[in-house]
Amino acid sequence: MIEGITYFFTDPIAQKVILGIAIIGAVSGIVGTFSFLRKKTLIADAISHSVLPGICLGFMFVGTKDPIVLMAGALVIGWISVWLIDYLSSSTKLSEDTAIALVSTLFFAIGSVLLSVISKSQNAEQTGLKNFLFGKAATMTTFDIQVFTVTSIVIILIVIVFFKPFQLVCFNNEFAKSIGVKVKFIEFLLSTLTVMTVAIGIQAVGVVLMSALLIAPAASARYWTNRLSIMVVLAALFGMFSSVIGVMLSTMKNNMPTGPWIVFALFTFTLLTLLFAPKKGWFSIKRRNNSNQKKITEENLLKTFYQLKEDGNSEVSFHDFLEKRAVDTHSLERDLKRMVKNGFLTKKNKTFTLTESGKTEAARILRSHRLWELYLTKRMNFKEDHIHGTAETIEHLITPEIEQQLLKELDFPRSDPHNKEIPY
């Protein structure tokens, strides 16, 4: 394994392949971002399946694997597929997803037929066209990589120059049209970029799996940022790293196709994103839920304490707590321990007493609860026997500002609807 990795950084041919795939991955991420935002990910998938006959026709035309001719073939057929999908969904009763499914499978079928024709008439091993199905990065020649690099630079330049129109059309194409942007042209340009990206990527990634490299980086990048420019850069980085890692993995054993390994790497990135992304990630959501739950438990315990005190107790034993609140012994022990540590309670001979800060906090929560109950009856016409449940939740949400507003609006009341005193 170590040998495999050092091989990539010392062998000149391997270095070129890595460089090539890195560029392809980055460009796919960039172009895919716009497909993703226009919700045209299915079209990206259709294009990558549809270019197969273009590759085959290009090969049949010149008889060699000239990257320029193959790309030209892919471009022409890719365009035709986009146009056909557009025509079928706008001029017939077929919906867009049906049109996409029909066109992509039809074109892929034609490509497969052409592929077998080529294999029969020529030495299949020699043509290496079979590698276009699932991709084989190692088959990229130096010339291939040069062509792909130049094409990539062109694509990136177009994205930079047309960034604003792309943003406008992806967000709100009616508005773009209303200020005079040539929306049809911009859409055509975006489709063209997708076709070009597919054309440079399929040798390494394969027509079957190319769409993953267009879509997954953008889908992940969306989780990490709310700015389009950063999203584009992140998608480029995700695409680049996944591709490089995929290529490295695929060369660990001989003759494995590259595409599947790139997809595995992409999927790993996506999974990590779903787990760790800020705010929308699984861990972030979990952490939020936990801290909410902690807050609720703690505040409820303080409240219980205060209420027990209202009944005349100043010291409360563990047992009193258990009676008042239906929780299990273990978690109650843990929660009380934490609250002693936080300085809300002190513990002496198995009984608990509120500290000063504990008292203030407990009074605040009870005040919130009773104020909210009063608000519900006075302002929202709730019946008295319906207010407790809502107030139990809302009491934990009332911020000092809202409390001030409540106090003002209710004119600093003395007691709640159940005639209990509101503590200040």
């Binding site: 009616e174 200020i179 700015r227």
Partner: protein
């Protein structure tokens, strides 16, 4: 055409999904007024706006702005689409969207100037969203999103503002903010055209009305147009015969105008 007119719609017919939704609409709108285009759901109000903005193909007729083709006076018109027409999850902040109002197709590839940015900031201030200017647009309430769209139009600095249902799904505060703004705009001599679905709310503020229900019912100053008879015609159900014809046209895929017929 009288130079005092802002928008002229002449013999306009439009089919949507092959069903004709506007029949021979013909009117002229004054300048410097708040103009309501009012009718029930499905009466073709939004379609009419889109036709004026050149967003959809016409079956017959034409529209003009300041007596000119739209393309010649585009910078003088700002369009506010329906709020639901876009995905608010798009990665952009309030400021990003409002700055789109300063984009000009001719110099789309240049960076925005300091003046452009200043105008966008002012527009955000006018709709009272300054404290939210860096917020992701998905995190706004419906009313705030509507104000973002309005600010984008304000940033365009146009003379005519065409708004599609700006009062749908907005809170009372937003409704008031928008209304105050519209009145301020009118006082500056701007023309505001608003599609609105019912006459119960905010209609007091309209100076001029276009009543629509697939055909033009009436148009003119609010007081003259707002008669029981007109309202009955606008809201009192579809014309049965017209609905039947619409269905036949759809079934047979029939054109609304014969080939070679010239309205002009």
């Amino acid at each position: 055409m009288n130079q005092k007119n802002s928008i002229e719609v002449h013999n306009l017919s439009v089919a949507y999904n092959k069903i004709p939704v506007l029949w021979d609409i013909d009117f002229e709108l004054p300048q410097g007024k708040i103009i309501g285009i009012v009718g029930p759901n499905g009466s073709g109000k939004s379609t009419l706006l889109k036709a004026i903005m050149g967003l959809i193909p016409l079956s017959s007729g034409y529209t003009k702005i300041y007596d000119k083709e739209l393309n010649l006076v585009r910078e003088r018109v700002a369009y506010v689409p329906q709020r639901e027409s876009v995905d608010w999850n798009f990665p952009a902040t309030v400021e990003d969207v409002v700055r789109m109002g300063r984009y000009k197709p001719g110099k789309l590839f240049n960076r925005l100037s300091a003046i452009d940015k200043e105008l966008a900031t002012e527009a955000i201030e006018k709709v009272k969203l300054t404290q939210y200017k860096d917020r992701q647009i998905a995190q706004l309430s419906g009313g705030q999103q509507q104000r973002v769209f309005l600010a984008r139009a304000l940033a365009q600095g146009a003379d005519i503002y065409i708004m599609d249902e700006p009062f749908v799904g907005v809170d009372v505060a937003t409704e008031k903010t928008i209304l105050d703004l519209l009145i301020a705009m009118k006082n500056e001599g701007k023309t505001v055209v608003i599609v609105h679905h019912d006459l119960q709310t905010v209609s007091d503020s309209f100076d001029y009305l276009v009543l629509l229900n697939t055909r033009l019912i009436a148009h003119g100053p609010t007081k003259e147009v707002l008669t029981d008879e007109n309202l009955q015609a606008t809201y009192g159900g579809q014309l049965n015969l017209l609905t039947k014809l619409q269905n036949i046209i759809k079934e047979k895929d029939f054109p609304i105008r014969e080939k070679g017929f010239d309205d002009k």
